[in-house]
Symmetry: C2
Subunit: 183 residues, 2 copies
């Protein structure tokens, strides 16, 4: 899973993603659906704005993990949004990155491959701390192991709370209190 | 000029380039010019095909130099095409990369900043060797130095030939004979 992305491979993935978008526009133009094309373009612009916001949070390792997640052959598709945009701290980057890496791997082991698995992460970085709202929809094959994973103690100041789990959905929040990490 | 591209910056550049294309499509849609939109989309697809061909030549360092050249703040805009597509050799990658790096820097020093400077490179990789057709259009402020640069001896087996130079155009070919480099 830990590929050593070199520039060429990297650009190949990006090019592939963008060409898909262009083909979608082209297809709808050919079907003479200019309104659908405008919708698609607005969706693309919204998506790139979220990418830009994520890139500006000053947590480059964590941001990179999310930005390239859909090229990593996980059995889920990731989407994210960034709502509040208070800059983060460098120490938070390490903690969050270790945690999300472990979470992606664990989730990947406990879901049904090739099912319609979607992971949505909403990121709120506020003055008092950082909160992630995590929402997985799809097929969980081992809810108990997944539950145990989320109940284990995590690196300092990272708290998982409000967990709800079934075989079709997993919802929880991750909270890091900025006062405690010494802002 | 030698920026240490990290992933975030890298994706920022790519995103910026693609958003420009999307905005161009959006603008022409708003002007109710679907035919122009289709032209733009075909240009985009052609361009990405050239990127893919360049990426498949097995000269990753050289390919990267060309792929990221337009993010490097040179005073020229680079375009390229790949015609013949015989795979290259690893030793050619080092030689070509050293040479193109030096050429980009030298050209950049000898052209008028902010003029309409275009550099076009056509790459032909054939059984018998690799040929680059280089064509610069713009404003050269020092044709003599540029000439001397092109006349100096280059790394083994890299030959610059058929040079024509004026203050508005510079054309030459780079030739590397594959029999000599020991295929």
């Amino acid at each position: 899973m830990n590929k050593d992305w070199n520039t060429i491979d990297f650009l190949r993935h990006v090019r592939h993603d963008w060409l898909n978008k262009i083909q979608l526009i082209k297809g709808n133009l050919d079907l003479n659906k200019p309104d659908r094309v405008k919708e698609i373009i607005n969706e693309i612009i919204t998506e790139t704005k979220q990418e830009a916001k994520l890139s500006n949070l000053d947590i480059p390792q964590f941001a990179t993990k999310l930005l390239i997640a859909n090229w990593e052959n996980y059995h889920f598709r990731l989407e994210y949004e960034v709502l509040a945009e208070e800059k983060c701290q460098l120490t938070e980057d390490d903690i969050l990155t270790s945690w999300i890496t472990l979470f992606f791997q664990t989730l990947n082991q406990h879901i049904k491959p090739f099912a319609d698995n979607h992971l949505f992460i909403s990121i709120h970085s506020m003055e008092e701390g950082l909160r992630l709202y995590v929402d997985f929809n799809g097929v969980l094959v081992n809810t108990e192991s997944m539950s145990s994973f989320l109940q284990q103690p995590f690196p300092k100041h990272l708290v998982v709370e409000n967990t709800e789990i079934s075989d079709k959905e997993l919802v929880f929040e991750v909270w890091m209190n900025r006062e405690k990490t010494g802002k």
